[in-house]
Amino acid sequence: MFKFQKPNIGKISVLVAILSWLALLFVDITRIFGELNQIESGVAPEVSYILEISFFITVFLFYNYSIARNERNEFLNLIWRGASTGILAFGISILIRGFYLTLGDSRLSEDPLLRNFFYHINFALTTLFLISCTLLWKRLILYQKTKKVVQQWQAFEILLLISMFFIFFNKNTLDYSFLFGLVFLVIFSISLSINLKWIPYLTFKEKWKSILFLFIIIVSSSYLFIQLLSYSDAKQIPVNLTDNLFLIGLFAFVFIYSLFSFLVTLFNLPTSSVFEQKLVEAINFQRLSQSIKPGQSESQVLDILMDSCMSASYADAGWLELRDESAKTQLIQERFTDKKSILKITEILDKSKPFEHFDWNSTENELKVFHGKITHPVFKSAFMAPLVVNQKTIGRLFLLKEVRDGFNKEMINIISTFVGQACISVENYRLLNEAIKTERYKEELKIAQRVQRSLLPEKLYHNDAFEIAAFSAAADEVGGDYYETWDFGNNEFALIIGDVSGKGTSAAFNMSQMKGVFHSLVQTHPKPKEFLIMANNALSQCLEKNHFITTSYFIVHTEKKTITYSRAGHCPTLYYNSLEKKSSFLSIEGMGLGILRNQLFEKYIEEKSFDFNSEDILVLYTDGIVEAKNSQGFEFGYERLKNTLTKNALKNPEEIQQNIIQEVFKFVGKNRIADDDYSLMVIKFK
């Protein structure tokens, strides 16, 4: 299988162009030989024409390819390419002329072969120059192209192609058809030459350079054109290659476009700074509107703001005044001035119109600007814009100029836009920071929640004599409710429920202390009253003075079927008596832990004991249950709790617990959030 390599248009066209040119040279030399030796060479001029056209087309293809391929097609580069080709063609032509001058009247200077050879070289270089320029102009014309311009250009290329073949028809005579064709091409060139949109994009310096390059091109093309005219009259040339509509047309096009560009660039010089300024403003705006990236700070935005405003207004001095929460002002980004003079100027400004109307606390400072004259030895006009972030005025931007009425409408508009954009960027930055911070707090709370959840028991100790179920929910991420069980062995169990005063994080810390106290004391197998007294002693040492813990402590003996209990300020325990089929609250005196932090505490603690029967139910809970409020402000209360238990007394503890919680939820209503922690432990004896 053959694999065709993709033909390299550049190389092929160069090769064909060189071959065409060599063939052209050879044919013409043959013709001269024939003429000199008076032998009919038999080569028709059409052969030369065909070779010439082939040369034109291949050079055209080569340049088209090479310019399209070149990535670095800045305008200045393009023009330089044209200019350098021009210099080459111009230079070599001058050298040839110089060579003939040195020859003087020698025989060699009359040698038609040599003359013909040089003619071909000049022809080739002129063609190269013109075609390269034409294609470079194509790039410039088609910058910011529209469909119309593209079509116009394509028509021009077709016209050029036709003009190459014109020679067959016209036979190198200057007749009306030639003139008509030329005029047509010139008009087309002029209409194309108004496409000069690339010029404003040059900087001031680039404009100067391009003026120089264009001048070189104009000079080169003029010289080459004059040289070409001189050939028309020359007798020694057998076939005139240069009196060609294509070449003359190209001359016209290259010259006209260069001239137009030259003049327009020249006249654009004075306004180029305005265009550059607008471009800088657009870029600045874009920089300001990009939200601050991580790792950047507000001051970078303010830096860009200051630079942008200074350059947009040609201000002679400027600074930013920032105010923090405590209304302390701070000066930053001072430009062409120092803190001392700023303080003096601010003092003057705050007393003069219209600046005195500014109010830091006004809510309508956004997009407001103040400008006017000031009485100052150096500065004559001043501009001030408040920086408003999140409806709060965080600072002021000041600009000063040494001329009167230095701030025109356009400047003020652009500066307000800059200020607005910078404020949005700062606001976004602050919001983002806050969001990150809150996110971190949430993360911390999640950890606290996890730790606290692990403080509540996973396992509830019990034996065959009773079943047990428990539930706990916190109003905040963490809560202050506590319950636990303990197996002493020998059918004896401890049950505890507790509620730490307050809620949230502080309650959660105290709850973990309570757990520690429980686990230490339970090891000594204390009686309920002893337990509470020791717990009070221990907690008195570590609770803050306005914190207390309420708790109920039970010891259940499943063999003796007795319950011994004490209460420390905790809401009374609910008990279902299966024989009477009645629920009631166990009444017992008792004071909360940490309320009385001395020996007197003992006096207020009781201990009671009773026997239980199977099917009896013990419900330990925290006040979040009875104090749960509905939308009308009514509490769930003790009665409802009691009735709910009686109603569900035949169910197992798990179901009783679920029913009570459901009842509370139903009472409170779906849309209300619990505002206290609530816990529940249900024990049912078998």
Partner: protein
């Protein structure tokens, strides 16, 4: 919502509480008591007739001053509590440490 007012009447202060005391506003109650103490009060009557709810945090405020009251021999009497609020004091056992009366007259009488 909690509204706190206090006035000096003869030799005693009357601290009126209306609304609900919870964790969020218990600091206000603390500040009010602090101020009364700074004014050198020796007898404080707490008017609880308008008090609808008191949370553990609110109770904690009263509790935290018990020792100071005792040391400085300051008398404090709460009167006119709603039944359910009174119940909260009783359950916690605070009624054993702070005198609670039904009416202002009883309170004044008890103050002697």
């Amino acid at each position: 919502m909690l509204k706190i007012e206090f006035t000096k009447v003869n030799d005693h202060f009357i601290l009126s509480l209306s609304g609900e005391i919870d964790a969020s506003n218990s600091v206000d109650l603390d500040a009010a008591i602090q101020e009364i103490l700074e004014q050198g009060a020796k007898k404080i009557l707490v008017d609880g007739t308008q008090l609808e709810y008191i949370s553990s945090a609110g109770l904690g405020v009263f509790m935290s001053y018990l020792e100071e009251f005792q040391e400085k021999e300051i008398q404090i009497i709460i009167f006119g509590l709603l039944e359910k609020v009174h119940q909260v004091f009783i359950i916690l056992g605070l009624d054993k440490l702070i005198s609670i009366k039904n009416t202002q007259e009883e309170a004044l009488e008890a103050m002697a």
